[in-house]
Amino acid sequence: MTEEVVTLTKKDFESGEEARWCPGCGDYSILTAVQMLLPELDVKPENMVFISGIGCAARFPYYMRTYGVHGIHGRAPAIATGVALARPDLNVWVIGGDGDMLSIGGNHLIHALRRNVNLKIMMFNNQIYGLTKGQYSPTSEIGKVTKSTPFGSIDYPFNPLSVALGAEATFVARTHDMDRKHMQATFKRMHEHKGAAFVEVFQNCNVFNDGAFDGILKRDVRGDMLIQLTHGEPIRFGSEGQLGVAVNEFGEPRVVEVSAVGVEGLLVHDEHRADPTLAFALSRLANSPTMPTPVGVFRDVQRPIYEVEVQAQLAATLERNGPGDLAKIIASGATWTVE
């Protein structure tokens, strides 16, 4: 029997459900990027599962012609863990926002990463609560004035990539909604990674937090403000390549003028370093989207996948003990017969 070769297109991944995000929302471009990318990834729609929690981003699964669960607030990584545990053969993608994944669902996110469940976790970071109409989020900057912080936020924000790296993530990357090619290249790497992958997507909420990333993403500043990380290459950026990242005397990466240290003085990016210290330091090069900010893959290392290990234990026990016999187990201790 030969399998029919079907070429899939973007249409094959569109559910036909009308997307209900606000006009101009960054979520649309992410959705398009994903729908256009999937036909290239050699996955069948029936083997893809999108799992989400609650929030604007979490409506994503409804628009995908795949299997999907729109779950409850924050719990998407846990629901997805259940899917992957039960069926390691599936491609399980998790979609959520900064509030969903770092506030109410922070616990599930870090544990899914720590276990290295084979989940592809995309966090759309817009630094605001959109669906509840504009409260500050765990990634909002100090001083942010919102409906729930009329005098400015006094909550110190999370750095999502630092959280993921601190949670032992094996794949950590960042991209943004203004560059489809970059998104697709990043999502492709995410998909190819074996194990838990975490991608932060800078996403503009044009209604409640418009222009939050303008300081780094506007076309005219991008050259000097985005630092593209490329494995094996010196970290160098700037409209004329005049800037770079070098390690100072304390071992901390800092932005430098290339002319000051020379190209050989720049830090060479290594995604595969077993030790996450440098990746962590790079994730903290900018503490707000007003400073030169690295994008791309920060870390990509291999560690045993949770559900594969589960399966291996089952197989090893089966091999050792033979198939389970419930009747035998029930009668395995002391028994007696009443005539």
């Binding site: 029936e46 719990r75 259940g82 545990l85 089966l318 017969t337 009443v338």
Partner: protein, 630 residues
Amino acid sequence: MTIDTPVDPNRDARTETLDRVVIRFAGDSGDGMQLVGDRFTELSAAFGNDLATLPNYPAEIRAPAGTIAGVSSFQVHISDHDIVTPGDAPNVLIAMNPAALIANLNDMVPGTTLIINSDSFEQRDLDKAGLTTNPLEGNSLAAFNVYTVPMTSITVGATKDLGVKPRDAERSKNFFALGLLCWMYTRPVKPVLDWIEKQFAAKPLILAANTAAFKAGRNFGETAELFDHPYEVRPAALRPGNYRNVVGNSATVYGLVAAAQSAKLPLVYASYPITPASDILHDLSKLKNFGIKTLQAEDEIAAAAIAIGAAFAGSLAITGTSGPGLDLKSEAIALAISLELPFVIVDVQRGGPSTGLPTKTEQADLMLAMYGRHGESPLPIVAAYTPSQCFDAAFEACRLAIKYRTPVMLLTDGYLANGAEPWLIPDLDALPDISVEFATEPNHGDEFWPYLRDPETLARPWAIPGTPKLMHRIGGIEKSGIGLDGADGSGSISYSPENHEAMVELRARKIANIANDIPLTMLDDETGDAEVLVLGWGSTWGSITAGLRRIRARNLKVAHAHLTHLNPFPKDLGDVLRRYDKILVPEMNLGQLSRLVRAEYLVDAQSYTKVQGVPFRAVEIETKILEMLG
């Protein structure tokens, strides 16, 4: 039915035969009382006695040694006939220290026996127990048959030549107590020695010390002339068949596994450690060659969410917990109600609210199971009523979950979970087939409608990822999901007011309809004309049954209805209740079932409550019924 007891050639001719005895081992948490209680129970089970047990231990792993708070006890009731409770009051108390004596003395009836480790009544032991006088001096114990035995020093003496450290030698004193009790009640010796050998194989010195202590205890009974003669309790004439001893949590595990096998579904159990439910996780974790996947989640919520993900992916998904964990799982359970996915939640009830009494029993989660979610979110509730019956209840919970694509609550409790009784080993081949067929084809033209329902059960199709053409999205938002008689079953988001009301009613009807698929009320009314009906659910079955036996022994009439299904109720329950002039509802809560049946059937059900973390005594039920009979 006759029981042939092999005659022991060494049987003491003075042995007195008892029809039953209740023994309570009590000591400090570190004294190994649960261990020797378990051993005595296993011995008695294998010997053929009927039995019931009541472990009772503090929540602290090691409360301050020697204090009242640190007392741990294990009560076992053995008999030569069918019994249903661990016994109202012990006939014999083994007290390893002053705290154990004082903490349990209130439960002892005058004329019963106290066996006391006299080595632990030094001034500092009395101080730890908060005693100003030594109860072994003076005549405060004059109403009892008191035997003081220097258990610690005899044990140390018996083990001194083995090279055991003095501290380890002392710790073997629980086996001395076990040995003594084995002599007193003519228990076989070999199974204990075999068990010690197996259990402590890796620690030869401890093995030798425990063996020596056990033998010393037995020899002490035989030779000390302290005790007049040994007793025996002959095997019970139970229903013919093969038996083993089982605690409720183990029976629950076997029931879940049997259901997964009958359903031909892989079992996924996600849970967070919590007393008294953790043993379910422990036991299932061992069964890897059954293909069972267990996951110790990061929290209770995750455990429920992981199970839901596994259910979506086509597994028999189960989570287990106790009260505080159930609070946390509420939102996820409501998600499963909206998704209409099979999911079993095992709640091993314990004393609440909040942390409450983690190691003690209670039945106060019924309203939580029934109503503890926002919105109109009904689900079926199954309750187990004896330790071994947890097997059937677990199987039934899975059957309903799979057939009706709904979360199902299985209620057990701390007493059932840890209590033991003989179990007539079930014939697994005789269990019903509860297998399920996943959807394989589109059901609406070329489309797949996830909420196109079976008109009989109202269940929606279960289409699992990996199946071509059936890709679908489900979620917690209200949906077009009537899916009957041509109505929309697409599952698309719908905020229409009429649709929401229709969905709320449909979800309620789906659960209510299950009444047609469960047994009628389990009713015990010998003559059919009793005036008083006792209505119970869950683990009060034993206490109620024992109370009824006492009433009937007085030639009085009383009926007993016991509920295994709390939602929906059996469809004849209203008729049954209305047949009786008086209804008594004993519960280990403040009257939750009584309120439900009063509201549902407008009957004058009288609540009788006890919330002390221990089961009702038979005498309490008896007294209350007598009061009602006037």
